[in-house]
Symmetry: C3
């Protein structure tokens, strides 16, 4: 979603939308939603963050409803989830979880790509429209976490970003890095790429180590 | 919500708002919400779709908070639901479901009117503000399903549009029809009226036949 | 949120944000959310109403993501809730509920301040941007109740404003008073202050007397 759509940026962004949309489709299938529900949740998860971003910075209509490439990728992810889900389950059962584990890890990796691309791209887009540093950071984070948040709201579950694993923190770091670099006049393509990679790595490490943000609730306390 | 508010268009739109607002009031009463909650849910269900539409296309403040006729109709539907609900139950009990069935069918018919008017009107409004074809279709669908979606979110239930009956599909057909007609320069009053009637009929048939979009979930699979 | 930020207005508004943000933090801690979740819910509860207001009247990016004073106060309230919650529980247990009662009453009083400041300030901001009377009233109410509503949505509970105590009504009175005064050219600082105090008093009395809006649901009826 950066202002200058180079081929790599576009490819990364489409990958991010695809990954997030898959997560939406999976949640929908698990909830027993029909085809319409699966496609809608895929669209919401893949493009909802960018839609909130565009509404907040006044760039309407949002690209999440107007850019056919983004919409097509999100809808395709929904259709794919709907079609492939039963098959994945069967294969996974036959191979004793081996391939399901592979699917899960693939989705987690894609999701980390989406998180990284969206927080960096969201901040860059905000900055390119003249938004000030603080809101540019917030907009970056919202771009990254907003889709999953809307997905969970519509599916009737407390948003994962609020209760599971370090998810918003890498996005906050990435967005802050981009905005800081911009403030000191050092927002080069190299810095952008570095920020995306950094967020991706932090997120993957957090998932791998099972890191969570601290919580107040202890068993039996509440 | 078309740009040219003829008397018939306005009447249809008010009817649609009224029908959707009734659905919001009914959900609120069944949930045991107080008078404020019933009126708020009626307003959200009746006007929420149009409010999202106007935010997405940048026409703020949205007519759903600024046009007193729309607001008055939605609030009136809320007050009516709140006042009449007990009576309807009593009458229905006395007449062995006969009149409640009549009420249900009336609400379903009104709801189909709302769906038809909103998807067509939403697309027309977007087109009249210079929005491109794809986002005009999406905005039309969101106008039609957004109110019910917000209603269900606030009432704490998974949105009906995601899990029940073919609801979004007729709206998608209607919006696509309008945008296609506009693209080929054939968006006459006749085409508009035909689109509204088509969506209405498809929806009524879907309800009557109990048609649903396909779902992946089988009993015992999950 | 009035256009003319005098020191008193700013102080009141920060107090309102702080109170609402505390409520968000408390809901999050009770739900067992982690540090990120607590801060996010504090931010949403404290600033969400103003963010919806700014989106509805087209003043983007909203101050809830761009004014560092507001963001800092909301985040601080979240951190405070997260840090102090365990301690408050222990102290409360030791003193047989005495101090917890004090905390609850303090939060309720702060919340009433927020409600009063936000409905008045929201309407004033809308009027100052040339918004018409009806939407200015609606925007004032949404400013006051929107944060709590989003907080409850994210926490997975039916919004309190829909089901508990007279909450929206004092906000409606306050916003209507401000807009009426503006319409007759009598919107002085005195009227503003009086409106804030009036809403505060009505809300406190409603809480004190346990007043609720009427409801249709009787035990056993449903």
């Amino acid at each position: 979603m950066p202002a200058t759509d180079t081929g790599l940026q576009l490819a990364l962004e489409l990958l991010g939308v695809f990954a997030f949309a898959l997560s939406g489709g999976l949640v929908a299938v698990r909830r027993g939603l029909d085809l319409v529900g699966v496609v809608v949740l895929a669209w919401v998860a893949g493009l909802g963050g960018g839609i909130i971003r565009d509404v907040l910075i006044g760039d309407v209509p949002p690209v999440g409803i107007s850019d056919w490439r983004l919409v097509a990728v999100a809808v395709a992810a929904g259709l794919l989830t709907f079609t492939a889900h039963g098959r994945v389950r069967v294969v996974a059962a036959r191979t004793r979880g081996l391939r399901l584990g592979l699917v899960t890890r693939t989705v987690q990796a894609l999701d980390a790509v989406g998180l990284a691309v969206f927080c960096v791209g969201g901040s860059v887009k905000a900055l390119s429209l003249g938004v000030a540093p603080l809101p540019a950071v917030v907009v970056g984070v919202i771009t990254a976490v907003g889709g999953g948040l809307l997905r969970d709201l519509l599916a009737g579950q407390v948003p994962e970003v609020l209760r599971r694993e370090l998810y918003a923190v890498p996005a906050l770091l990435g967005a802050t890095g981009v905005v800081t670099a911009h403030a000191v006049g050092a927002l080069t393509d190299l810095v952008l790429a570095g920020s995306v990679i950094l967020v991706f790595v932090i997120r993957i490490v957090a998932v791998g180590l099972g890191l969570n943000a601290p919580t107040r609730l202890r068993t039996g306390e509440h």
